[in-house]
Point group: D2
C-alpha cells in the first residue's frame, strides 16, 4: 500500500500483527550481525559499502524521522545529532554527513547504536499501543520502514562481504558447513519460448509494494526465449579462458572502458591460486564450483558474456512475464547458506539477482510521492539498470515477482548473476 | 537500407544519383569550414569536441576503410598511418589514436587533410564509374557513409562552438545578421492530448535509416499530453531565478551531483553581464532572447525544469507518435542561421534536439550488424538518453521522425532543448 | 650510535638498563591509548593518519623484523601474515599492505594486536636475558627500535586527533582540565641576533641519534636574527583578518596553489562559531586562545605569514645554532596537557615543531645504511622540509637539539608552528 | 645588475648597444620557429609545454607590461585583452588565463602575434631613441626582458619537442645532418678531487645576473669528487638492463612512487624498436648513441642511477666550485645541432643541464624584489631542484657558471642529464 493513497478512515486501532512484524524484522537485523567482532562494525572500504553500524542506526533513523518525529506526541530524540549523521540521502530532511566518511564514525559506539535501536523500538511500541487518528498513514509508513530495513539487511551482507574482502587475512564470516563440488555435471541451458503478447506489468495485488512497481500497465512484448537457469561458473570460465576480457567486440563501449580502467579479468572476489580459480565468500576463501551460478559480475560483464554466447540479456518485462507464467522463481535467504547453491541440487533456487537490459525508470503514469519520503526511489531513475530475482542474502518474505532492484551497470558487489534471453525467430 | 540485408542482384551499374549525392555532401563539409582561420582547425578543448581537421579526415577514413580497402582493386592508401590516426572507435579495424589527443595532431596539416579528401573522392568516383558485382553492398555502405558525414557536419558546428567558446576573445564564427528581441510575447505552452494506443514505432519506409531505428515494432502507449512548443529562455530564467539550481528536490540524484560538482548555475554558454543574461553563440556574444527556446541544457537540467514546472519529459515513443500525427516537426539547418529562431516567427521550427526520458537501447528484435561497421551504433546502448527532433545545425535532408540521436544525460554542448509532457488524467 | 659503526667486541652481556628502557617505552605506547574506545583503534581518515592499532602492531613488527628474525634462534612468528600486513615502507623486507587501506584491517582485532605485543616483548626479554655474540648490533638495533616506537607514540597523538576530528560529534580525547584565556597580554616578538660564524652542525655526542643527524660538519652562517617566541594565535588572526589567505603576493607559488585547491582559510581544526574562532583539540572543541602559539599550519602558511610580517623562516642551521647557544629550547609531552601552553605562563615551553626553510637532505658525508634498515630515513630526502623543536606530544626523553623532523610543506596535521627569523643588516 | 639596486643618475641617454641587443634577441625568437608549419604554433600537450605562439606573445607582453606601460608616455596597447591572455603567472599584474588552456587560443592568430611583436618592438625602439630620466631602471628592466626572452627561446625548443613528440607521425623539426655512432668507445668516468674549503658562491661580477644568483656568499664545502663527464646512454642502458627501474632500493621514496604511477622504464622519448633503443629528437627518430650523454631523465632517475653506480649527485655549490676552477664547462646552442654531441668528439661540450641534489632556495641574504617583477624567481623556491650547466638548446650568450636553473624532480622534458659526485674519503 502506497503512502500517497492512504485515506483517513474511522478505525483508530493498529493491527497487532504490525507490531509483531516490526519486532521480528528489527531483531533479524541485530541477529545477522552476530558473527562479527566489534571492530568489524565500522568498516567501509568504498563509499557504496556502508558500515554495519551505520545500517543499524540508519534504519532506526528512518522510523524516527518519518514516524516518531511527525506522529509521536512530545517525541524527544535520543541524540539530536543523529538526524544529520544517519540521514542517507533525504535532502528533504536536511544535510547529510558525507557518505564516503561513514567509516570514520567510531562514535557513536556500537553499544550506543544498540541503545538507539532500543530507544526507537520502545517509542514505536508505545505509539502502536495507543489509539490514533493517523492509524492508516502510520501503518503505511511503518510497513515501508519494515521493508526498508529488510533492504538494509541484504546490504549488510553485501557490504560486509566487500569490506572483509579487503583484508589480506581473508576473514571467515560464517563457519556454516558447505558442500562443494568441482566437477561439472550440468547440461546445456534450455530456453522457454514466449509468443508476442500484450501483457500486464507491475504490481497488481493488495499487499505492500514499492512505488516503483506501480502503476500496473499494459506492455507489448515481441516473441522471445528466456533461459531455464543462470549461467554457471564453468561456462563463465570458458568465456574468460577464450579471451572474453580481451576482445572489445563483445563489449558495450562503456563496458570496455571499465574493463581497461579497472583491469577486470574475472568476477569480483575471484583469484587464481595454483592455476585454480578461487573466490572469497562469506564462508571464506573457496574453490570456484563449476556448477554454481556465476556471481558478482557487472551488467557490462553480463552483457559481454551474452554477446559472446550469441544471446542477450532479457528486458525486465520479459523477465516478469516469464515469472508470472511460473517459469522463473525468485530467491531469498535460507538458513545459514550465504552463497548460491549448486544448480544441480534438488529444489535449488537461483540465489542471485539477474541483470536485465532495462534502464531503471518510472512506469507509465508513475508519480513521485510528496515530501522527503518521495526521495525513496524516484530520484535514482537515471543511469541504473533493473535487476530481478532476489538472492541468497535477500531477507525472507521480502521478495515479489514485480520487485525492481537497481544498480549502476559497472557495480559488482551485489549478488548479481546472468540469465540469458534470445529473440524468437 | 541496412547493410546486412543487401542481396546480390544482377544489376552491375551504380545509380548516377549516388555519386552526385556523395559529391554534394562532401563539398558541404568543406564549405561549412570557410569562416575559420587556419589555426582554428586543430582546436580540441575536451575529449568530446574533436578538431575540425579531424572531422574532415575521419569522414574520408570512413569511405577509405569500409569501401575503398575492401572493394577497390589494388587500392593504395595515401598514407598508411591514417588508418590508425583517424580511426574513431572501431576496434574491429584496429587500435585508435587516443581521442583526447586529437588536438595535438598538427600534422597532417590542413592542406594535407584536404589532399586526403581529394584523394578519397577521386578513388570513390573511379569506383562508382565502373561496373561492379558489388553494386548493392557498395551502394549501401556509401549511403551510410554519406549520412555518417552529415552527422559529422553537425558535430563540426557543435564542436567548433565549444572550442571557440574557450577563448576569452570570444571569436565570432559567422557575421550573418540576426534579429533579436528581448521582450517576451509568447503565451503559455499548450498541450496536445493523446489517448492510449498500440502504435508502430521505428522506421517503416524503404529509404535509408540507421540500424537503431529498426525494426519497426508495436508499442503500447498510455494516454499522455505533449507540449506544442519548446521551453523558452524566458521561462527557464524564471526557473533559475526562483532557485531551481539550488533546490535538490527537483533533481535526479545524479543530476544534483552534477550540479554540485560542476557548479552549474545556468545553461552552457550563458553568463550574466551587467545583470543581464548573455550567451555565446556562433554569431558571437549576444543577449539572451526571452522568446527563443532554451538551448545547451543537459538532460538533468531538462528533467529538473520539468519537475519544477509540474511536468515531465516525453518518452521517445510519445515523441515519435506525436510527430507521426503531425503535431511535432523536425528541424534542419537553414541558410546562415546557426541559432534557433524566435518561437514567435512565422514558420519557425524548433531548431533544437529534445531530450526524452528514454534510455538509448535496441528496439525489440534489434541485432548488431556483423563486422566493424556493426560498432556504428549498438555498442553505445548504455547510459545514454535518446534525443529527438533535429536542430538548427543538422544537415539539410538528414532528419527523419524516426531518427534517434543519443548523448549522456550530463552533456550540454549539443543544441539540446526541452519539450514537456504530462500524464493524461 | 649508528648501526653501521658497530664493531664486534668481546662483551657478551646486555646492559640491564636496555631492557628496562624497552619495557618502559613499550608500556607507554599502550598507556597512551587508554582514553580510547575500542571502535577508535581502527580509524584512518587519510593515508597519512594510521590507525592506533596499526601503530601498536607496526612498532612490534619493527622489533620482530630487525632483531628477532635475524638474531633470535629458532624464532617462530606469531602470525606469518603480519610480516606483510604491518610493514610500513621497507621494500628490503618485502611487499607492503597498501598504506591507505590500513583502516580496513578490522582483523587482527585489538586484543590480537595486544597479544602480538606481548609475544614480541616476551621474546625480546628472553633474547636480552642470555649471552650473545651480537650484543652490540642488537643493542644498536634495539635502541633504534625504542626511538622508533617513541616516534610512533607521537604519531599516535597526531593521527588520532585528525581521525577523531572527522566526526561531527567532536569526541573529547582527554578530560584533563585546561586553563584558557582569551585576552591577549603578550608583548611584541623580540629577536636574538647572531653574527656570521663557521659553526658545527649535527650530533656530536656519544649517545643515540638518528643517522640523519650526522655526520657533524662545519657550516658557514651569515648574520641573522631569530625570534624569542613562536607566532601567537592572536597575531595569526590578524594575518587572516587582513586578508592573508586571499593575497597571492605573500605566498610561494605552490603554496598559493594549495590555498586555492584546498580552500584553506585558517589553520587546520579552526572554525568560526558565532563570529569567534574555535579549534578542535584533544581536549575537545575550545575557543582559540590568543596567547597560545598558532598550531597546525603548513610550511606554506608559515612562509606566507613570515612574508606578511616582513620576516622569513629560519634555516635549520640557524635554528640549531641558536639552540646550541641556549636561546631556543625543545619541547616534550608534559603530564596530561596535549596542547601547547599559554606563552605567558612561567616555564612554558614552545610546545610545537617549527618549520624551517631547509629542505630535508643528507648532511655532507651522509651515507645510507646497508640493508632494509637503511630505508629508515634516507629515502625520504626529497620534497620535504625540516622541522625543529619537539612538541607537546613528543615522547619524554626523545628530543635532541640536533633532531631533524621532516614533513611535506603542505601537511598540517602535525603539531607545527612558526618561529620567525630575519637577515642581520 | 638587479632592478632593485638601480639608482637615478644624471645620464639620460640609452647605451646604443642595448637596442642592438634587444633587436638581435627578438629576431632570434622568430628565427628559431622557421622550421614549423603554421598548425604547429598552437600545440600544447600538457600544462607545462606552452604553445610556440604563446612564447612569442608572452615575451612581448613582458616588455609591454614592465616597460612600455609604466615608462612610455601615452602608451596604447595593441589589444587590451592581451594583458590577461599573455600573463604567465604575475599575480601582481592581475588574473591570468589558465595555463593548461593556452593551446586553445587559436586567436590571436600567428599573424596577429607577429603584428604584436612588431608593435612592441617599434615602441621599445622609440622609447630608447629618446632621452629619459628613467634610463637606468629601463635599462635594467630591458636587460631582464632580454634574458627572459632567451629563457623562453630555450623553452620553445623543449616544448615543441614534447608537443611534436605526441604525434604518431613523429614529425622531424630540423633536417640538419647528424653523425651517429652506435659503438661505444668511451672509457670510464674519471673524477676531479677537491679538498674541504670555504668558498664564494653566487655571482660576483658587474654584468647581468638573475636575482637568485645573489648575494655572493661564503659556503663551507667538505671534500668531494666530481665526474669529468656526464653519464652516457651506454652506461644508462646497463642500469636499465640490470633492472634499475624495478628495484626500489636505488630510489628515493617519491621517485619510486613516480616510477610506479607513471610506468617509467627508460628516459622520456626512448622506445625500443626491434630490440634496439631509439629516441625521438628534434632531428626525428634516431637510434640511441651509446656515447652521447643520457638526456631527458628526471632527478629521481638521476639519483637512482647514482645510487646504483655507488655515487651521488653533486650539490649546486660543489658544481659551481668545480666550474669556477675550470673543471666543468657550461653549454649553449651551436649552429643547427639540437642534440648533445658525442662525448668523444674534440671540443664537445656536455650539452645538458645537470641535476644537483640542492633544493632551489634563496641564498643567505636573498630578498625578493618589490612589485610584480619580484615574482620572477622567488616564489618558486619550494619543491624544486637546481640544475646547472646549460644545454644544447640554451641561447648563445645566455649562460653563466653561477646560473641556477630549476625544475621539479619528476620533470623530464627539459634537456637534463646526470653528472656524478662522491664524498672524498
Amino acid at each position: 500500500m502506497s503512502v500517497r493513497e492512504v485515506e483517513q478512515t474511522s478505525d483508530k486501532h493498529f493491527d497487532k500483527a504490525l507490531l509483531a512484524d516490526f519486532r521480528r524484522v528489527r531483531l533479524q537485523s541485530v541477529d545477522s550481525c552476530r558473527p562479527l567482532q566489534l571492530e568489524d562494525y565500522g568498516l567501509q572500504a568504498v563509499a557504496e559499502t556502508s558500515p554495519t553500524k551505520w545500517h543499524l542506526a540508519h534504519t532506526s533513523w528512518f522510523f524516527e524521522t518519518f514516524i516518531l518525529k511527525p506522529y509521536r506526541a512530545d517525541y524527544q530524540p535520543l541524540n539530536q545529532h543523529y538526524e544529520y549523521v544517519f540521514n542517507s540521502y533525504y535532502n528533504g530532511v536536511g544535510e547529510q554527513f558525507p557518505r564516503q566518511k561513514r567509516g570514520l564514525l567510531s562514535r557513536p559506539s556500537v553499544a550506543e547504536v544498540m541503545q538507539y535501536r532500543d530507544y526507537v523500538d520502545g517509542e514505536i511500541s508505545a505509539l502502536l499501543g495507543a489509539d490514533s487518528e493517523f492509524v492508516e498513514v502510520i501503518t503505511a509508513l511503518l510497513t515501508l520502514g519494515i521493508h526498508h530495513e529488510q533492504q538494509h539487511q541484504e546490504l549488510f551482507y553485501t557490504d560486509i562481504k566487500y569490506n572483509l574482502g579487503q583484508n589480506p587475512l581473508l576473514p571467515v564470516f560464517t563457519e556454516a558447513p558447505l558442500s562443494t563440488r568441482e566437477t561439472a555435471t550440468l547440461g546445456e541451458i534450455g530456453y522457454h519460448r514466449f509468443n508476442p503478447a500484450l501483457v500486464s506489468i507491475g504490481y497488481g495485488g493488495t499487499g505492500f509494494c514499492f512505488d516503483n512497481e506501480r502503476p500496473q500497465h499494459l506492455h507489448q512484448l515481441s516473441g522471445f526465449c528466456i533461459a531455464d537457469r543462470l549461467v554457471s561458473c564453468g561456462e563463465y570460465i570458458q568465456f574468460i579462458e577464450q579471451g572474453g576480457y580481451r576482445q572489445p567486440q563483445f563489449w558495450l563501449a562503456d563496458g570496455w572502458a571499465a574493463v581497461q580502467q579497472q583491469g577486470w579479468q574475472a568476477p569480483l572476489y575471484w583469484q587464481k591460486i595454483d592455476d585454480c580459480w578461487h573466490e572469497f565468500t562469506l564462508h571464506g576463501l573457496l574453490p570456484v564450483d563449476l556448477d554454481r551460478p556465476v556471481c558478482h559480475v557487472s551488467a557490462y560483464e553480463a552483457d559481454a558474456y551474452a554477446s559472446w554466447a550469441g544471446a542477450r540479456l532479457p528486458t525486465e518485462q520479459e523477465w516478469e512475464w516469464a515469472a508470472q507464467q511460473g517459469h522463473i522463481n525468485g530467491s531469498e535467504r535460507r538458513q545459514q547458506l550465504l552463497r548460491p547453491e549448486l544448480m544441480t541440487q534438488p529444489n535449488a533456487c537461483d540465489g542471485l539477482w539477474q541483470w536485465t537490459s532495462s534502464s531503471y525508470s518510472g512506469y507509465p503514469g508513475f508519480v513521485v510521492e510528496d515530501g522527503a519520503v518521495g526521495e525513496y526511489n524516484g530520484k535514482f531513475m537515471a543511469n541504473q539498470l533493473v535487476l530481478r530475482g532476489g538472492s541468497c542474502v535477500t531477507s525472507p518474505g521480502h521478495y515479489r515477482s514485480s520487485y525492481r532492484n537497481f544498480f549502476y551497470p559497472g557495480q559488482r558487489w551485489q549478488f548479481s548473476g546472468i540469465r540469458l534471453a534470445k529473440n524468437s525467430v
